[in-house]
């Protein structure tokens, strides 16, 4: 491989530092790169996910929510930054860890809690639950309980857009573990040769359940798998919502101008175990502490306060609103009916 190429390839790191430096500069010399409104929306979404997951984990422990529950705690910046960078009618396909994507794409938390409670009023009438939650009204094609299976679906959504020429992009959220599954390479290759408006956001939280990525990949830089297929690929800090936002925004513009797909490897870390019942004891304490110290929600908060210039008081007000909305959502879900068997039979009668 020649040097220009190798230079182009390391663009990931250049980009990372460039963006970092940029906003830090603007951050420190106080000039505003982002409006207060924008930073407020960003923080609202970050905090909503944080509250949603925190409260639902409690409800799970109380037996109000059953089945598998994979919290998005610690990864909020990725869903929020990515979804803020695309349009309401753009598509996303989500994962088994999908609450954050769903909220960031604009879902109503009432209908989300209702779904987790298995109620008729939920997004999937209580038939799907956490691992299948979908919000077609906002272009969220849904969570998926088969790791990697949402990649081909995302390729299809992007393919549809390129056939319809509807100018939409599709963001496929995926994970380090999924990058070892065959559909990852297959799907990226299809996106590459068909030059699709697809952005693959790889949430590299460094574990597949308890298996560290270092045990399932000899080359730990996963974005290189995109490069090898001829896709513009980069690695970024997934805990900085503005950095994610900028990266996805840039890729989305490329997609819409017909320049084809992108891979963005966003490095992050879970704030807890794989699912609610996993204590995550295999996660080294100091490493966890480091990631807690760069908590993406905290970071979004300081952007709002320091860049957005919002007063501590006003931030607290927003947080209170969100907590109240969550109370409401839980109340709504708790008092909602379930689908009865007759209604159910009607849905499946032609199966």
């Amino acid at each position: 491989m020649n040097l220009e190429l190798s230079a182009r390839r390391s663009s990931a790191h250049f980009l990372f530092s460039r963006l970092a430096v940029n906003y830090l500069k603007q951050f420190f010399n106080g000039e505003k790169m982002y409006t207060k409104e924008f930073l407020t929306d960003i923080y609202r979404t970050l905090y909503t996910i944080r509250v949603f997951e925190g409260r639902c984990v409690k409800l799970y422990r109380q037996g109000m929510i059953r089945g598998y529950f994979h919290p998005y705690l610690g990864e909020e910046a990725i869903a929020v930054g990515a979804c803020a960078a695309i349009r309401e009618d753009d598509y996303i396909t989500s994962t088994h860890r999908g609450h954050g994507h769903c909220i960031a794409k604009g879902a109503d938390i009432k209908l989300m809690v209702a779904e987790l409670f298995g109620k008729k009023t939920g997004y999937c009438k209580g038939l799907g639950g956490s691992m299948h939650i979908a919000d077609l009204s906002r272009g969220n094609l849904g969570a998926n309980a088969i790791v990697g299976a949402n990649l081909p679906l995302g390729v299809g959504a992007a393919l549809g857009s390129s056939l319809k020429e509807d100018g939409k992009v599709t963001v496929v959220f995926t994970s380090d573990g999924a990058s070892n599954n065959g559909v990852f390479a297959e799907s990226l290759n299809l996106a590459a040769i068909w030059n699709l408006p697809l952005i693959l956001v790889l949430e590299n939280n460094q574990y597949a359940v308890s298996t560290p990525i270092t045990e399932s990949a000899r080359e730990p830089d996963l974005y290189k798998r995109g490069e090898a297929l001829g896709i513009d690929s980069r690695q970024i800090d997934g805990n900085d919502v503005l950095l994610v936002y900028e990266s996805v925004k840039e890729s989305a513009e490329k997609c819409r101008s017909g320049k084809g797909p992108a891979v963005i490897e966003a490095v992050t870390y879970r704030h807890g175990g794989h699912h609610v019942n996993d204590p995550g004891l295999y996660m080294p304490r100091e490493k966890l502490n480091y990631y807690l110290s760069i908590d993406p929600v905290e970071r979004g908060r300081s952007y709002l306060v320091e860049q957005g210039g919002m007063s501590e008081k006003d931030v607290k007000k927003i947080e209170a609103e969100i907590e109240a909305a969550m109370d409401e959502a839980i109340e709504f879900a708790a008092t909602s009916p379930e689908l009865n068997f007759k209604e159910f039979q009607h849905i499946v009668e032609d199966y």
């Binding site: 038939l127 990649l151 081909p152 679906l153 390729v155």
Partner: protein, 326 residues
């Protein structure tokens, strides 16, 4: 009398007509564009509809099928071709866990109008990985429709219905049927799902078949007629939905049943039909339901053995005799 064309030409017409009618219909598969398909089903479509609607794919069955599903969810009507039904083993997760369940899991907020075309059955020494009959696998998956036409007329009318269906349809052709000719109207017509077709009326015994076992059963019926046994040959055409009414009507009339299936006997659809008949026509049967099916083995390469592992005309005739007199 009506024009006669080949099974594969009838399929080609169905695709062409639906693509003209509805811009959301497009095709994906290996070698379907440039090459017009391994069995020439898609010949000429690239020329008429261009490379965006007639797409050659890499050898990535799972993902281009999944891409079809994703496109279907978002408003397209893809027709995805898998070269051999044996290769559908590579797309099972996308088909079973995604396509078949998507409408259900999303609480009905979206549907998957996908047609999955493939072809199966023994050919001429194509051996164990290119000769299977796997319809029973799809038959067992709630949420999938299953269509297996035996004539050019049915092939065209059913493929058009499949493309207009809002749920995923597994549409299985048979490699030995592609060159068969039959009357096909030039006019636009549909064949409805869930309607079996009596390909030959008879009062003595009911022969239930689908796909390539239908012409074979008709041959057997001719031989039996010579012996004075009038067999009714019922072509199910769609396995899901299944026309149980037509089956029971015929059985109540003839009181003797033979089910013919190319797929291996164990766990085949024939068993399901036999179970249905014994449950719902118990008092009409004065002999057990007979099944003529493939023997439990992969398909051998050797041509003589290949013939002996799937039902031939003689086997059907034997089964009818067995069902007739005990």
């Amino acid at each position: 009398m009506a024009r006669e064309i080949m099974y594969r030409e009838a399929l080609n017409e169905a695709l062409r007509e639906e693509m003209r009618r509805d811009p959301s219909v497009f095709l994906m598969g290996e070698g379907i564009a440039e090459r017009g398909g391994s069995y020439k089903v898609t010949v000429g479509l690239l020329e008429e509809f261009g490379p965006k609607r007639v797409m050659d794919t890499p050898i990535a069955e799972a993902s281009f099928t999944g891409a079809g599903i994703g496109a279907a969810i978002t408003g397209m009507r893809p027709v995805v071709e898998i070269l051999f039904v044996d290769f559908t083993m590579l797309i099972m997760d996308q088909l079973v866990n995604q396509a078949a369940k998507y409408r259900f899991m999303s609480g009905g907020s979206a549907s998957v109008p996908l047609v999955l075309r493939s072809q199966g059955g023994v050919g001429n020494g194509l051996a164990a990985q290119h000769s299977e009959s796997l319809e029973a696998v799809f038959y067992h998956i709630p949420g999938l429709k299953l269509v297996m036409p035996s004539t050019p007329f049915d092939a065209k009318g059913l493929l058009k219905s499949a493309i207009r269906c809002d749920d995923p349809v597994v549409f299985l052709e048979h490699k030995q049927l592609y060159m068969n000719k039959g009357p096909v109207p030039e006019t636009d017509y549909l064949v409805e799902f869930g309607k079996a077709d009596i390909k030959r009326p008879g009062n003595d015994v009911t022969i239930i078949a689908w796909s390539n076992m239908v012409p074979r059963s008709l041959e057997a019926a001719e031989q039996l007629a010579a012996e004075g046994i009038e067999a009714e040959v019922l072509d199910l055409r769609t396995l899901v939905p299944m026309d149980t009414e037509a089956i029971l009507q015929s059985v109540r009339k003839t009181e003797h049943v033979v089910i013919v299936q190319e797929a291996v006997r164990r766990g085949g659809i024939a068993s399901d039909i036999a179970a249905l008949i014994q449950a719902q026509a118990f008092d009409y049967l004065d002999a057990p339901v007979e099944i003529a099916a493939g023997i439990n083995t992969p398909i051998p390469f050797n041509l003589n053995l290949e013939k002996q592992v799937v039902p031939q005309v003689e086997d059907i005739v034997k089964a009818v005799r067995k069902a007739g007199y005990r």
